[in-house]
Symmetry: D2
Subunit: 224 residues, 4 copies
């Protein structure tokens, strides 16, 4: 498979390239110091696009993928409402995989959180920790968890420091007992593994927006 | 309801008495400094028996309950094979509630652990912490978790110190990410709450052995 | 020693009474359901006053102690600038022990935090957790830690839930390694132990304001 | 400076090479697939030797360094008594830096642990976690901490799983409060940073054995 990887020189992008190039032909696209500086420079169309750059750029990738009818994996966070609408529009014509956290472990973590919240009467708090260069706060994953557990009115806090890759902790404070669930990313490879899995998974799916839950549960929810 | 509480002066027993006496008539039974020193001293039969003493004594309580046909809640740990057999024998004629950890939170914790283990490829480790006077190690709860997750070959470790009521931690070490699930008892009241719930729940059940899972899931598994 | 305990029916006050009454004659003072409703009701002057009520009340206790020339232990938090000034004024004439966290362990925790911050280049974050009825946030202890580590620009976050007595965590995020220091109060008895120790310690001290550090380090810093 | 790095293809060795080659000329030595398969193959003597291979090999490196009179940094663990004696013998003629954990953060962590143990009456427990391929258990660092806190009779436990680089946790269980100190290595770069620092530090030191504490405290303890 020929895969164009946008944001190929970023931290996540580089890790994704390393995994995907073992089995696929990849085209590295990055504004600086890469094979290509943008998708338009490609001499031949790829079979699919992975975007690991930033929210604004990923919308441009969605438009490009839409025109060529290519499957798209978006592996960056921080989209605003308007950007999400544009991605949703593209997903009417192409399959789009959009996940704020590409690790399989985070999906399992979220499923477990939901299971605990439903069965354990408690006050819920979400705390996340990331490296100090992370721009958005709270993280996209923390926001997704908040949304998932919305019924239980979770509060949320965060810390930034060092090179912490990503830690998410959910506290369920019961009357006289506490359950805490923590996910720690040890290496960006866990996200890159997930991106690679998503890339191979989405390529033959119908148009629509997909997430990590579709991949792990195997039941594609097709929109439109 | 008239409830006889064996081990009424122990830490857990005292907390159970405090809760149950709000709604029920209780008879406190303890070898030292209590209303009665043994079940045989009671002038009138109770409606049920709660045993919060020790493994050896709880077998005697089971025999006593069996003779009188009374429902029994066993809220202590450390039974050996032979003792378990005797309890199983009694459960042919009376309903017996037997749980190594009486907190509802621990049950939810165990359910979540099973859910994570089944969906997240990982090395599993169980670590538990209790006060320094705890006699058995690893804790009955840790052993139950090990059995529950047996397929994943969990390793196990423990610490003893201070007045820690009870902390159980399960680490799921994935390739590049770790999920950790922790249950912390803040007060013995969480166990006492569970014992009280079990006492009221078991009183009208058919003969058999029941556990916390039966209580939270509401589907009684009747043995024999 | 005759000790008047203001706020004797609060959570901390009750635990303090339990410890101090073993060795001292105590007068319980509380607005509701206690021996006395205010200090003025006492028939005889005590040898010292412990205030475990609230910021506003503790200022009145300071004025009262000042008039009678009695040593004072203030074991509540949340004082504003004006209240602190009034306490400082009283400390010109009487010895006042003022600590936002009365546990000896918290003092050791703070000393260790300072030691780490000074020797380990890192981004510092403080996270605290307390029961959901706690009124002020962040906790007085968290604010004190922030002040102590001010040079390192710590950020701060908090959670509220269940009956958590008090957990303070400090993360030191180095470039490729993290040191985390956590203090967990298992029982209010740890504060009550500290209040009892402070009460017996301050009674023969010169006028001035003292804190837990003076007690553990044994070197009284006398103000004025 | 010309630095020979033994075990250059191992995990730690490779990270050390990456840092040291920025400022120094390095010779990579490894049994497999490297520039040189052993120290004896070198055409010219280096200015110093770093050994990041294994206990048995590091003794051979010590003998080699001893013959040539070269400073040596040993950055591997698991030495038995006999091996330590041979290293001590070499240190009579050359400066040897020997640390079971080369991270600066671990040294600060150990200093903080000692400070807490000395001031906080508690039961002490050490728990360590490493990747599943780690051969020795408990880790050399855990053993060093146990030795450091020996007076307080620490107990020790460990877990192995995934790719965890190295986590050490010390629990200080007080009567009603717990202090926990945790060190987490986020990347082998933290050890490599320490090895690089030790390499530049030891080169002009007198004969003797040195450790991380000498480096961070700046006061060289010379043996013999």
């Amino acid at each position: 498979m020929k895969i164009a990887i946008v944001g190929a020189c970023g931290r996540l992008g580089a890790a994704v390239c390393e995994i995907l190039q073992k089995k696929h032909e990849i085209f590295k696209i990055d504004l600086k110091k890469s094979q290509y500086s943008c998708l338009e420079e490609l001499n031949q169309p790829p079979d699919m696009i992975v975007d690991a750059s930033c929210a604004a750029q990923s919308v441009r990738s969605a438009a490009f993928a839409n025109i060529l009818g290519l499957p798209l994996v978006i592996a960056c966070t921080g989209h605003d409402e308007q950007q999400l609408e544009k991605i949703a529009f593209a997903s009417q014509s192409i399959p789009v995989f959009l996940a704020y956290n590409m690790s399989v472990g985070v999906q399992v973590f979220k499923d477990a959180a939901q299971c605990i919240a439903e069965n354990f009467e408690s006050d819920v708090h979400i705390h996340e920790i990331h490296h100090k260069n992370k721009k958005d706060a709270p993280s996209g994953t923390a926001k997704e968890i908040k949304k998932l557990l919305d019924y239980y009115n979770p509060t949320i806090s965060y810390a930034r420091g060092g090179n912490v890759i990503g830690t998410h902790e959910i506290d369920f404070f019961g009357e006289y007992e506490t359950i805490t669930l923590t996910h720690t990313a040890l290496s960006r490879s866990c996200f890159a593994n997930g991106v690679a899995a998503a890339s191979e998974w989405i390529v033959d799916k119908p148009n629509g927006i997909y997430g990590m839950r579709d991949l792990t549960h195997g039941d594609a929810v097709i929109h439109r």
